[in-house]
């Protein structure tokens, strides 16, 4: 009965948050335990989708779209491509654990505890309260404010430029690696 009253006391936002969290955590568990690498990559996508859902409940629609675009649309596809061209074709199953599993488990739990303790220290009981309301004017203007802060020298102009240079260097490096070193057969090169 107490569980029922708990269920009915939930707001629609909390329901969405719980569903998104279940999707995120459940898919993440599948990622680390599944024996099929391709399925693990798919579960990783589902996990990213759940994170995007959590962003939406936090009124960060732009961030959610960026999450979809970058993590599902680009990174996951890259991972799947890497699996496709490096592994044997179908249904390769192998143990997802290696000799460092104990250490990995310890690091994951320790990381979670550190973050949890820091949040509790910082916000105390407020960490469990509902998020403070944000004015609609702020939300509708959030994307423009984000854009302005990227080019504002008092905000993120310098980090933005540094990241741009890093990306440019990576692009040039990729082109350099992919560039043909010497022409073995000019006729073939022409074709």
């Amino acid at each position: 009965m107490t569980f029922l009253t708990f269920l009915t006391s939930l707001t629609s936002e909390q329901v969405v948050f719980i569903l998104a969290s279940i999707l995120t955590i459940g898919a993440a568990l599948v990622v680390v335990t599944n024996r099929n690498l391709f399925h693990a990559a798919l579960a990783l996508m589902a996990s990213f989708l759940g994170v995007a859902g959590i962003y939406i409940t936090l009124d960060a629609g732009f961030l959610a779209a960026a999450q979809l675009l970058v993590y599902i649309g680009a990174i996951s596809i890259l991972i799947i491509f890497a699996i496709m061209v490096t592994r044997r074709m179908m249904q390769v199953s192998e143990s997802p654990f290696n000799s460092q599993r104990g250490l990995g488990f310890f690091v994951a739990v320790a990381g979670f505890l550190i973050v949890a303790v820091v949040i509790l220290q910082w916000f105390g009981g407020e960490a469990f309260a509902a998020k403070p309301p944000v004015a609609p004017a702020v939300l509708s203007n959030a994307v423009a404010a984000l854009g302005v802060s990227f080019v504002n020298p008092n905000a993120f102009a310098l980090p933005f430029i540094v990241i741009s240079i890093l990306l440019l260097a990576a692009l040039i490096g990729a082109i350099y690696i992919a560039w043909p070193r010497q022409r073995i057969d000019p006729a073939e090169d022409e074709a």
């Binding site: 391709f38 798919l42 996508m45 629609g61 979809l68 675009l69 996951s76 596809i77 203007n141 994307v143």
Partner: protein, 427 residues
Amino acid sequence: MSFNLIDFLLSFLDMTVLDYANEVWGDQPWLSPLLSVIYIVVIATVVLLLVFVVGWTERKVLARMQDRIGPNRVGGRYGMLQMVADVVKMMTKEVIIPAGADRWAYLAAPVVSLATSILLFAVLPLAPGVVGVNLPSGIFYVMAISSVSIVGLLLAGWGSNNKYALLGAFRAVSQLVSYEVPLMITLLVPVILAGTLSLVSIVEEQTIPYFFYVPLAGIIFFISILAETGRSPFDLLEAESEIIAGFHIEYSGMYFGLFMAAEYIAIMFMSALFATVYWGGYNFFGLEDLVLANGFAIGRPIGFISLIVKIAIAFFIFMWVRATLPRFRIDQLLDFNWKLMVPLSLVLLFVVVLLNKAIDVYAPGITEFGRMSIHLLSNVIIGIVVLEIMRRRARRKREAEEGPDAGGWRMEPVLAESDETQLAHAD
């Protein structure tokens, strides 16, 4: 205000049902979620049903363009119920899962494809004030969702346990990922002109459609959406003569039907997006805001019809291109993208940004028409320069292949030569 059947029916006519419900029942907590759910169900259903219309139209128009009759048996003389018959046929067919298929991936692929196609319609403004959600980052949402649609193709290609399907998926990904670049860059051009990412605001900013500002960007965008939806001449992902049907070769029954539906819905949305960001969406010379004296918003149906007509014209061009052009080779396809479309769209983006800023700084009081003329002039100049560069390149390539002397028509010397050899044989 209490519920009144006649007012309710009238609100259907001028597309203010949601406003009407809000007025009648006021601030009930259940009203807003309920209305959202109804809107979602209506849009998703209508979009799926439109596939019948669109599919029939395409087959009929393609047939006419190719001097055939097309569907003409089921449903009267024009074969209007042909698609219904086809869907019934697909429903009654068995769904065969091939041996060795990755069951999860195989079954999830059509669902992901269809879901991403339908999700796109959430942000499309249908008429003034009629839109699923007016997201502040609507264009970004469209980009994000359409990039997710690639996952469906990959799932199908991988899960089918078929080399043609896998080849199709590889082609699909290389094509879609490449053509996303010019697509996104040319989507940014209207964003810069309007100064917002919201699709509704972009429509409202277009007193003159952006196609008249930046026709080149519009054309690049249209070519990119042809490639993005895998339409001819970019239909390499399902090239029938090479890889049979590409990623959906192993699908049967309604699972295949779902892929078809997803494709048509994506085409509809992309036509709608093109009409929205470049042809002014539901705008129709200001008539879309017309409200009669008795409060009847006649402008909304006018705006809606105007949008539908624009989408139909864009879709007609889709069909026209499909009926006219042969398929690209894969290397030509990627060359065309990376060596022409991407650089050109980047140049266009820079020019638009600089010009727009320069106009704001040096001629702040300029009329909308003046702004349009400046952008149009820059576009015409860029277009002429690009055509000239392409002409020279093609000429150089031709000369390298045939020697420097072989310019102009090569028909005559070839004919003359063959005549001589024929004469020699005759002797």
